[in-house]
Subunit: 249 residues, 2 copies
Protein backbone atom coordinates (compact mmCIF):
# COMPACT_ATOMS: atom_id res chain seq x y z
CA UNK A 1 0.00 0.00 0.00
CA UNK A 2 1.29 3.42 -0.98
CA UNK A 3 0.75 6.11 1.65
CA UNK A 4 1.38 9.86 1.52
CA UNK A 5 1.25 12.24 4.48
CA UNK A 6 0.22 15.80 3.64
CA UNK A 7 1.45 18.45 6.07
CA UNK A 8 4.65 19.32 7.90
CA UNK A 9 3.37 20.36 11.34
CA UNK A 10 3.58 18.60 14.70
CA UNK A 11 1.05 15.85 13.96
CA UNK A 12 2.38 15.20 10.43
CA UNK A 13 5.93 14.92 11.79
CA UNK A 14 5.05 12.51 14.59
CA UNK A 15 2.84 10.42 12.34
CA UNK A 16 5.67 10.10 9.81
CA UNK A 17 8.04 9.19 12.64
CA UNK A 18 5.61 6.59 13.99
CA UNK A 19 5.35 5.05 10.50
CA UNK A 20 9.12 4.93 10.24
CA UNK A 21 9.60 3.41 13.71
CA UNK A 22 7.14 0.64 12.91
CA UNK A 23 8.50 -0.06 9.41
CA UNK A 24 5.31 1.08 7.68
CA UNK A 25 6.21 2.23 4.14
CA UNK A 26 5.65 5.93 3.44
CA UNK A 27 5.94 7.13 -0.17
CA UNK A 28 6.11 10.84 0.41
CA UNK A 29 5.47 13.77 2.69
CA UNK A 30 3.87 16.60 0.80
CA UNK A 31 3.18 20.21 1.78
CA UNK A 32 3.84 23.89 1.28
CA UNK A 33 6.51 24.54 3.88
CA UNK A 34 9.72 23.49 2.08
CA UNK A 35 11.87 24.25 5.10
CA UNK A 36 9.93 22.00 7.49
CA UNK A 37 9.46 19.26 4.88
CA UNK A 38 13.19 19.20 4.24
CA UNK A 39 13.94 18.80 7.94
CA UNK A 40 11.46 15.93 8.34
CA UNK A 41 12.61 14.34 5.10
CA UNK A 42 16.27 14.33 6.09
CA UNK A 43 15.61 13.16 9.66
CA UNK A 44 13.31 10.30 8.67
CA UNK A 45 14.68 9.57 5.19
CA UNK A 46 11.34 9.99 3.40
CA UNK A 47 10.99 11.73 -0.01
CA UNK A 48 9.17 15.07 0.07
CA UNK A 49 7.67 17.46 -2.42
CA UNK A 50 5.95 20.85 -2.45
CA UNK A 51 4.88 20.41 -6.10
CA UNK A 52 4.18 16.88 -7.30
CA UNK A 53 1.82 14.83 -5.21
CA UNK A 54 2.75 11.16 -5.43
CA UNK A 55 0.14 8.63 -6.57
CA UNK A 56 -1.04 6.65 -3.51
CA UNK A 57 -3.75 4.41 -2.03
CA UNK A 58 -3.99 6.41 1.18
CA UNK A 59 -3.50 10.12 1.82
CA UNK A 60 -3.40 11.35 5.42
CA UNK A 61 -3.99 15.09 5.68
CA UNK A 62 -2.43 16.58 8.82
CA UNK A 63 -2.81 20.30 8.41
CA UNK A 64 -4.62 23.03 10.38
CA UNK A 65 -8.39 22.56 10.54
CA UNK A 66 -8.87 25.73 8.50
CA UNK A 67 -6.80 24.37 5.60
CA UNK A 68 -8.09 20.80 5.43
CA UNK A 69 -10.88 21.49 2.95
CA UNK A 70 -8.67 23.44 0.56
CA UNK A 71 -5.76 21.01 0.80
CA UNK A 72 -8.02 17.99 0.29
CA UNK A 73 -9.04 19.47 -3.06
CA UNK A 74 -5.61 18.88 -4.57
CA UNK A 75 -6.20 15.11 -4.56
CA UNK A 76 -7.83 14.51 -7.94
CA UNK A 77 -7.55 10.73 -7.82
CA UNK A 78 -10.86 8.92 -7.15
CA UNK A 79 -9.89 5.34 -6.29
CA UNK A 80 -8.15 6.07 -3.03
CA UNK A 81 -8.79 6.63 0.66
CA UNK A 82 -8.24 10.05 2.22
CA UNK A 83 -8.12 10.68 5.97
CA UNK A 84 -7.78 13.84 8.00
CA UNK A 85 -6.47 14.03 11.57
CA UNK A 86 -8.76 16.75 12.93
CA UNK A 87 -10.58 16.12 16.20
CA UNK A 88 -13.43 18.45 15.35
CA UNK A 89 -14.26 18.26 11.65
CA UNK A 90 -16.42 15.59 9.95
CA UNK A 91 -14.85 13.39 7.30
CA UNK A 92 -17.25 15.04 4.80
CA UNK A 93 -15.15 18.22 4.96
CA UNK A 94 -12.79 16.47 2.56
CA UNK A 95 -13.48 17.91 -0.91
CA UNK A 96 -13.01 15.12 -3.47
CA UNK A 97 -14.56 12.06 -5.01
CA UNK A 98 -12.39 9.58 -3.10
CA UNK A 99 -13.43 7.58 -0.01
CA UNK A 100 -13.34 9.77 3.08
CA UNK A 101 -12.23 9.03 6.61
CA UNK A 102 -11.07 10.43 9.91
CA UNK A 103 -7.87 9.29 11.63
CA UNK A 104 -7.66 11.13 14.95
CA UNK A 105 -4.74 10.81 17.39
CA UNK A 106 -5.56 11.87 20.94
CA UNK A 107 -2.27 13.38 22.02
CA UNK A 108 -0.42 16.70 22.20
CA UNK A 109 2.49 16.89 19.80
CA UNK A 110 5.60 19.04 19.73
CA UNK A 111 8.43 18.30 17.33
CA UNK A 112 11.04 18.71 20.05
CA UNK A 113 9.39 16.13 22.35
CA UNK A 114 9.57 12.41 21.60
CA UNK A 115 6.59 10.18 22.38
CA UNK A 116 5.62 6.60 23.14
CA UNK A 117 3.27 6.00 20.21
CA UNK A 118 1.99 2.66 21.64
CA UNK A 119 -0.01 4.58 24.23
CA UNK A 120 -1.73 7.06 21.93
CA UNK A 121 -5.47 6.41 21.44
CA UNK A 122 -6.42 6.41 17.73
CA UNK A 123 -10.05 7.10 16.74
CA UNK A 124 -11.08 6.01 13.26
CA UNK A 125 -14.18 6.68 11.16
CA UNK A 126 -14.65 5.55 7.55
CA UNK A 127 -17.39 5.14 4.94
CA UNK A 128 -17.24 1.34 4.82
CA UNK A 129 -16.02 -1.65 6.76
CA UNK A 130 -13.08 -2.43 4.43
CA UNK A 131 -11.60 1.03 5.00
CA UNK A 132 -12.27 0.70 8.71
CA UNK A 133 -10.30 -2.55 8.77
CA UNK A 134 -7.52 -1.07 6.69
CA UNK A 135 -7.02 1.96 8.93
CA UNK A 136 -7.45 -0.09 12.10
CA UNK A 137 -4.73 -2.50 10.99
CA UNK A 138 -2.46 0.40 10.09
CA UNK A 139 -3.02 2.21 13.40
CA UNK A 140 -2.60 -1.05 15.34
CA UNK A 141 0.97 -1.28 14.05
CA UNK A 142 1.62 2.01 15.86
CA UNK A 143 -0.63 1.93 18.92
CA UNK A 144 -2.19 -0.59 21.30
CA UNK A 145 -5.23 1.64 21.64
CA UNK A 146 -7.21 1.83 18.37
CA UNK A 147 -10.96 2.51 18.39
CA UNK A 148 -13.83 3.36 16.08
CA UNK A 149 -15.49 6.73 16.67
CA UNK A 150 -18.28 8.73 15.11
CA UNK A 151 -17.78 12.42 14.36
CA UNK A 152 -20.28 13.26 17.12
CA UNK A 153 -18.25 11.42 19.73
CA UNK A 154 -14.92 12.68 18.38
CA UNK A 155 -16.05 16.30 18.81
CA UNK A 156 -16.53 15.66 22.53
CA UNK A 157 -13.25 13.76 22.80
CA UNK A 158 -11.47 16.76 21.32
CA UNK A 159 -13.35 19.18 23.57
CA UNK A 160 -12.43 17.13 26.65
CA UNK A 161 -8.83 17.15 25.48
CA UNK A 162 -8.87 20.93 25.20
CA UNK A 163 -9.83 21.19 28.88
CA UNK A 164 -7.51 18.42 30.09
CA UNK A 165 -4.48 19.43 28.03
CA UNK A 166 -4.55 22.84 26.30
CA UNK A 167 -6.25 24.65 29.19
CA UNK A 168 -4.18 22.86 31.81
CA UNK A 169 -1.02 23.92 30.00
CA UNK A 170 -2.27 27.51 29.90
CA UNK A 171 -2.80 27.41 33.67
CA UNK A 172 0.84 26.32 34.00
CA UNK A 173 1.85 29.27 31.81
CA UNK A 174 -0.14 31.70 33.99
CA UNK A 175 1.19 30.01 37.16
CA UNK A 176 4.76 30.44 35.90
CA UNK A 177 4.05 34.09 35.16
CA UNK A 178 3.11 34.56 38.82
CA UNK A 179 6.14 32.69 40.20
CA UNK A 180 8.50 34.41 37.72
CA UNK A 181 7.22 37.80 38.90
CA UNK A 182 8.58 36.97 42.40
CA UNK A 183 11.76 35.19 41.22
CA UNK A 184 10.41 31.87 42.51
CA UNK A 185 11.79 29.00 40.38
CA UNK A 186 8.95 27.15 38.63
CA UNK A 187 10.81 23.90 39.38
CA UNK A 188 9.58 24.14 42.98
CA UNK A 189 6.09 23.33 41.69
CA UNK A 190 6.95 20.23 39.67
CA UNK A 191 6.53 17.71 42.55
CA UNK A 192 3.15 19.30 43.30
CA UNK A 193 2.12 19.14 39.64
CA UNK A 194 3.31 15.53 39.33
CA UNK A 195 1.30 14.58 42.41
CA UNK A 196 -1.80 16.38 41.08
CA UNK A 197 -1.59 14.17 37.99
CA UNK A 198 -0.70 11.00 39.90
CA UNK A 199 -3.83 11.52 41.96
CA UNK A 200 -6.25 11.51 39.04
CA UNK A 201 -4.80 8.17 37.94
CA UNK A 202 -6.22 6.80 41.18
CA UNK A 203 -9.00 9.12 42.38
CA UNK A 204 -11.91 10.78 40.56
CA UNK A 205 -10.80 14.42 40.04
CA UNK A 206 -14.00 15.66 41.66
CA UNK A 207 -13.07 13.84 44.90
CA UNK A 208 -9.42 14.90 44.65
CA UNK A 209 -10.20 18.64 44.75
CA UNK A 210 -8.22 20.62 47.35
CA UNK A 211 -7.49 24.33 47.83
CA UNK A 212 -9.12 27.45 49.24
CA UNK A 213 -12.16 27.47 46.90
CA UNK A 214 -13.43 24.01 47.82
CA UNK A 215 -12.78 24.81 51.51
CA UNK A 216 -14.71 28.04 50.89
CA UNK A 217 -11.87 29.87 52.63
CA UNK A 218 -12.96 33.48 52.05
CA UNK A 219 -9.92 34.97 53.79
CA UNK A 220 -7.48 33.31 51.38
CA UNK A 221 -9.70 33.89 48.34
CA UNK A 222 -9.79 37.61 49.07
CA UNK A 223 -6.06 37.79 49.74
CA UNK A 224 -5.33 36.05 46.41
CA UNK A 225 -7.59 38.42 44.48
CA UNK A 226 -5.50 41.30 45.80
CA UNK A 227 -2.33 39.72 44.38
CA UNK A 228 -3.76 39.20 40.89
CA UNK A 229 -4.74 41.36 37.96
CA UNK A 230 -6.09 41.24 34.42
CA UNK A 231 -6.48 37.79 32.80
CA UNK A 232 -5.13 35.88 35.81
CA UNK A 233 -7.66 37.59 38.08
CA UNK A 234 -10.48 36.73 35.66
CA UNK A 235 -9.32 33.11 35.55
CA UNK A 236 -9.11 33.05 39.35
CA UNK A 237 -12.70 34.28 39.74
CA UNK A 238 -14.09 32.09 36.95
CA UNK A 239 -12.58 28.85 38.23
CA UNK A 240 -13.40 29.54 41.87
CA UNK A 241 -16.97 30.24 40.84
CA UNK A 242 -17.08 26.98 38.89
CA UNK A 243 -15.71 25.08 41.92
CA UNK A 244 -18.37 26.73 44.09
CA UNK A 245 -21.10 25.56 41.71
CA UNK A 246 -19.73 22.03 41.38
CA UNK A 247 -19.60 21.49 45.14
CA UNK A 248 -22.72 23.58 45.86
CA UNK A 249 -20.86 25.88 48.27
CA UNK B 1 12.59 17.60 71.73
CA UNK B 2 8.89 17.10 72.43
CA UNK B 3 6.64 17.81 69.43
CA UNK B 4 2.85 17.93 69.15
CA UNK B 5 0.86 18.15 65.92
CA UNK B 6 -2.49 19.91 66.22
CA UNK B 7 -5.08 18.92 63.62
CA UNK B 8 -6.38 15.74 62.00
CA UNK B 9 -6.81 16.78 58.36
CA UNK B 10 -4.79 15.85 55.26
CA UNK B 11 -1.68 17.89 56.10
CA UNK B 12 -1.65 16.88 59.79
CA UNK B 13 -1.97 13.22 58.84
CA UNK B 14 0.85 13.28 56.28
CA UNK B 15 3.09 15.32 58.54
CA UNK B 16 2.59 12.80 61.34
CA UNK B 17 3.29 9.97 58.90
CA UNK B 18 6.45 11.71 57.64
CA UNK B 19 7.65 12.08 61.26
CA UNK B 20 6.99 8.40 61.89
CA UNK B 21 8.72 7.25 58.69
CA UNK B 22 11.82 9.23 59.59
CA UNK B 23 11.89 8.20 63.26
CA UNK B 24 11.24 11.72 64.51
CA UNK B 25 9.57 11.48 67.96
CA UNK B 26 6.03 12.81 68.15
CA UNK B 27 4.45 13.18 71.60
CA UNK B 28 0.84 13.62 70.59
CA UNK B 29 -1.66 14.54 67.92
CA UNK B 30 -4.29 16.85 69.29
CA UNK B 31 -7.56 18.05 67.82
CA UNK B 32 -11.34 18.20 67.92
CA UNK B 33 -12.24 15.38 65.54
CA UNK B 34 -12.03 12.28 67.73
CA UNK B 35 -12.91 9.97 64.86
CA UNK B 36 -10.08 11.16 62.60
CA UNK B 37 -7.58 11.41 65.46
CA UNK B 38 -8.34 7.85 66.47
CA UNK B 39 -7.72 6.58 62.93
CA UNK B 40 -4.38 8.43 62.66
CA UNK B 41 -3.39 7.40 66.16
CA UNK B 42 -4.00 3.71 65.54
CA UNK B 43 -2.38 3.70 62.09
CA UNK B 44 0.76 5.54 63.20
CA UNK B 45 0.85 4.48 66.85
CA UNK B 46 0.92 8.03 68.25
CA UNK B 47 -1.03 9.11 71.36
CA UNK B 48 -3.91 11.50 70.70
CA UNK B 49 -6.20 13.70 72.73
CA UNK B 50 -9.15 16.01 72.17
CA UNK B 51 -8.89 17.42 75.70
CA UNK B 52 -5.44 17.57 77.25
CA UNK B 53 -2.75 19.24 75.23
CA UNK B 54 0.61 17.67 76.01
CA UNK B 55 3.47 19.88 77.17
CA UNK B 56 5.93 20.29 74.28
CA UNK B 57 8.82 22.33 72.84
CA UNK B 58 7.25 22.55 69.38
CA UNK B 59 3.60 22.69 68.37
CA UNK B 60 2.74 22.40 64.65
CA UNK B 61 -0.76 23.64 63.89
CA UNK B 62 -2.20 22.03 60.76
CA UNK B 63 -5.81 23.15 60.66
CA UNK B 64 -7.90 25.18 58.21
CA UNK B 65 -6.68 28.74 57.72
CA UNK B 66 -9.89 30.05 59.30
CA UNK B 67 -9.26 28.13 62.53
CA UNK B 68 -5.51 28.75 63.02
CA UNK B 69 -5.89 31.89 65.12
CA UNK B 70 -8.48 30.37 67.44
CA UNK B 71 -6.66 27.06 67.79
CA UNK B 72 -3.33 28.77 68.46
CA UNK B 73 -4.91 30.44 71.49
CA UNK B 74 -5.17 27.16 73.37
CA UNK B 75 -1.38 27.02 73.77
CA UNK B 76 -0.82 28.91 77.00
CA UNK B 77 2.83 27.92 77.37
CA UNK B 78 5.32 30.72 76.66
CA UNK B 79 8.68 29.01 76.34
CA UNK B 80 7.98 27.06 73.19
CA UNK B 81 7.93 27.34 69.40
CA UNK B 82 4.63 27.25 67.49
CA UNK B 83 4.40 26.81 63.71
CA UNK B 84 1.43 26.83 61.37
CA UNK B 85 1.36 25.16 57.94
CA UNK B 86 -0.70 27.74 56.04
CA UNK B 87 0.60 29.01 52.70
CA UNK B 88 -1.19 32.32 52.99
CA UNK B 89 -1.19 33.53 56.57
CA UNK B 90 1.66 35.34 58.38
CA UNK B 91 3.23 33.71 61.43
CA UNK B 92 1.86 36.67 63.45
CA UNK B 93 -1.66 35.20 63.11
CA UNK B 94 -0.65 32.86 65.94
CA UNK B 95 -2.26 34.22 69.10
CA UNK B 96 0.07 33.53 72.03
CA UNK B 97 3.22 34.67 73.79
CA UNK B 98 5.40 31.85 72.41
CA UNK B 99 7.88 32.12 69.50
CA UNK B 100 6.01 32.06 66.17
CA UNK B 101 6.88 30.42 62.90
CA UNK B 102 5.62 29.17 59.58
CA UNK B 103 6.25 25.64 58.31
CA UNK B 104 4.74 25.38 54.83
CA UNK B 105 4.74 22.18 52.75
CA UNK B 106 4.23 22.75 49.02
CA UNK B 107 2.19 19.69 48.08
CA UNK B 108 -1.38 18.50 47.67
CA UNK B 109 -2.39 15.98 50.32
CA UNK B 110 -5.11 13.35 50.43
CA UNK B 111 -5.18 10.75 53.16
CA UNK B 112 -5.82 7.96 50.68
CA UNK B 113 -2.77 8.82 48.56
CA UNK B 114 0.75 8.02 49.76
CA UNK B 115 3.59 10.42 49.00
CA UNK B 116 7.35 10.60 48.60
CA UNK B 117 8.10 13.12 51.33
CA UNK B 118 11.75 13.59 50.21
CA UNK B 119 10.54 15.59 47.20
CA UNK B 120 8.24 18.01 49.01
CA UNK B 121 9.57 21.59 49.21
CA UNK B 122 9.38 22.96 52.79
CA UNK B 123 9.34 26.73 53.33
CA UNK B 124 10.25 27.96 56.80
CA UNK B 125 10.00 31.35 58.50
CA UNK B 126 10.84 32.03 62.14
CA UNK B 127 11.53 34.93 64.54
CA UNK B 128 15.18 34.10 65.15
CA UNK B 129 18.05 32.12 63.70
CA UNK B 130 17.99 29.38 66.36
CA UNK B 131 14.39 28.50 65.55
CA UNK B 132 15.21 28.66 61.84
CA UNK B 133 17.98 26.13 62.37
CA UNK B 134 15.77 23.94 64.52
CA UNK B 135 12.94 23.75 61.98
CA UNK B 136 15.36 23.43 59.06
CA UNK B 137 17.05 20.46 60.71
CA UNK B 138 13.68 18.89 61.47
CA UNK B 139 12.36 19.38 57.92
CA UNK B 140 15.64 18.12 56.46
CA UNK B 141 15.05 14.76 58.08
CA UNK B 142 11.89 14.52 55.98
CA UNK B 143 12.71 16.33 52.73
CA UNK B 144 15.73 17.10 50.54
CA UNK B 145 14.20 20.44 49.64
CA UNK B 146 14.06 22.80 52.65
CA UNK B 147 14.14 26.56 52.19
CA UNK B 148 13.65 29.80 54.07
CA UNK B 149 10.78 31.99 52.92
CA UNK B 150 9.22 35.26 53.93
CA UNK B 151 5.45 35.56 54.26
CA UNK B 152 5.42 37.82 51.21
CA UNK B 153 7.06 35.17 49.03
CA UNK B 154 5.03 32.34 50.53
CA UNK B 155 1.78 34.06 49.55
CA UNK B 156 2.88 33.97 45.91
CA UNK B 157 4.10 30.38 46.19
CA UNK B 158 0.67 29.38 47.48
CA UNK B 159 -1.10 31.39 44.77
CA UNK B 160 1.03 29.76 42.05
CA UNK B 161 0.19 26.37 43.58
CA UNK B 162 -3.53 27.16 43.38
CA UNK B 163 -3.22 27.71 39.62
CA UNK B 164 -0.86 24.78 38.98
CA UNK B 165 -2.65 22.26 41.20
CA UNK B 166 -6.14 23.17 42.48
CA UNK B 167 -7.28 24.83 39.25
CA UNK B 168 -5.68 22.15 37.08
CA UNK B 169 -7.54 19.51 39.06
CA UNK B 170 -10.80 21.39 38.60
CA UNK B 171 -10.22 21.43 34.83
CA UNK B 172 -9.84 17.65 34.99
CA UNK B 173 -13.14 17.48 36.91
CA UNK B 174 -14.90 19.60 34.27
CA UNK B 175 -13.22 17.61 31.47
CA UNK B 176 -14.45 14.37 33.01
CA UNK B 177 -17.94 15.83 33.25
CA UNK B 178 -17.85 16.38 29.47
CA UNK B 179 -16.48 12.92 28.63
CA UNK B 180 -18.88 11.24 31.11
CA UNK B 181 -21.81 12.98 29.42
CA UNK B 182 -20.93 11.08 26.21
CA UNK B 183 -19.94 7.79 27.89
CA UNK B 184 -16.32 8.31 26.89
CA UNK B 185 -14.00 6.70 29.48
CA UNK B 186 -11.80 9.33 31.13
CA UNK B 187 -8.93 6.83 30.98
CA UNK B 188 -8.56 7.64 27.27
CA UNK B 189 -7.22 11.03 28.30
CA UNK B 190 -4.55 9.86 30.74
CA UNK B 191 -1.74 9.47 28.16
CA UNK B 192 -2.55 12.97 26.89
CA UNK B 193 -2.54 14.38 30.41
CA UNK B 194 0.72 12.58 31.27
CA UNK B 195 2.34 14.00 28.15
CA UNK B 196 1.07 17.50 28.93
CA UNK B 197 2.87 17.26 32.27
CA UNK B 198 5.98 15.57 30.84
CA UNK B 199 6.30 18.47 28.44
CA UNK B 200 6.51 21.17 31.09
CA UNK B 201 9.37 19.26 32.72
CA UNK B 202 11.30 20.01 29.54
CA UNK B 203 9.70 22.99 27.80
CA UNK B 204 8.49 26.36 29.11
CA UNK B 205 4.66 26.03 29.30
CA UNK B 206 4.26 29.19 27.24
CA UNK B 207 6.16 27.56 24.36
CA UNK B 208 4.38 24.23 24.82
CA UNK B 209 0.90 25.66 24.21
CA UNK B 210 -1.16 23.80 21.59
CA UNK B 211 -4.87 23.72 20.73
CA UNK B 212 -7.47 25.72 18.82
CA UNK B 213 -7.11 28.97 20.81
CA UNK B 214 -3.37 29.46 20.20
CA UNK B 215 -3.93 28.53 16.53
CA UNK B 216 -6.76 31.08 16.56
CA UNK B 217 -8.94 28.44 14.90
CA UNK B 218 -12.30 30.24 14.92
CA UNK B 219 -14.18 27.37 13.35
CA UNK B 220 -13.29 24.96 16.16
CA UNK B 221 -13.72 27.60 18.86
CA UNK B 222 -17.26 28.29 17.69
CA UNK B 223 -18.09 24.62 17.39
CA UNK B 224 -16.88 23.99 20.96
CA UNK B 225 -18.94 26.86 22.35
CA UNK B 226 -22.04 25.20 20.91
CA UNK B 227 -21.26 22.00 22.81
CA UNK B 228 -20.82 23.72 26.18
CA UNK B 229 -23.02 25.44 28.73
CA UNK B 230 -22.97 27.15 32.11
CA UNK B 231 -19.68 27.07 34.08
CA UNK B 232 -17.80 25.05 31.47
CA UNK B 233 -18.74 27.55 28.77
CA UNK B 234 -17.59 30.42 30.98
CA UNK B 235 -14.29 28.64 31.64
CA UNK B 236 -13.90 27.96 27.90
CA UNK B 237 -14.35 31.63 27.02
CA UNK B 238 -12.21 32.91 29.90
CA UNK B 239 -9.22 30.69 29.18
CA UNK B 240 -9.38 31.18 25.42
CA UNK B 241 -9.45 34.91 26.00
CA UNK B 242 -6.45 34.63 28.30
CA UNK B 243 -4.57 32.59 25.68
CA UNK B 244 -5.42 35.23 23.06
CA UNK B 245 -3.98 37.95 25.28
CA UNK B 246 -0.85 35.99 26.19
CA UNK B 247 0.05 35.33 22.55
CA UNK B 248 -1.32 38.67 21.27
CA UNK B 249 -3.67 36.97 18.80
Amino acid sequence: MQTVIIGSGNVAYHLAKAFKQNNIPLSQIFGRNQNELQKISSELNIPYSTQDLEDADLYIISVNDQSIEEVSGIISKKNCLVAHTSGSLPKEILAGEYRKSSFYLLQTFSKSKSLDYRKIPFFIETENIEDQQLLTELASKISANVMESTHEKRKYIHLTAVFACNFVNHLFARAKEISDSQDIPFDYFLPLIDETIQKIHEIDPKSAQTGPAVRNDQRVLQLHEQLLKEESLTIYRTINNSIKKMYEL
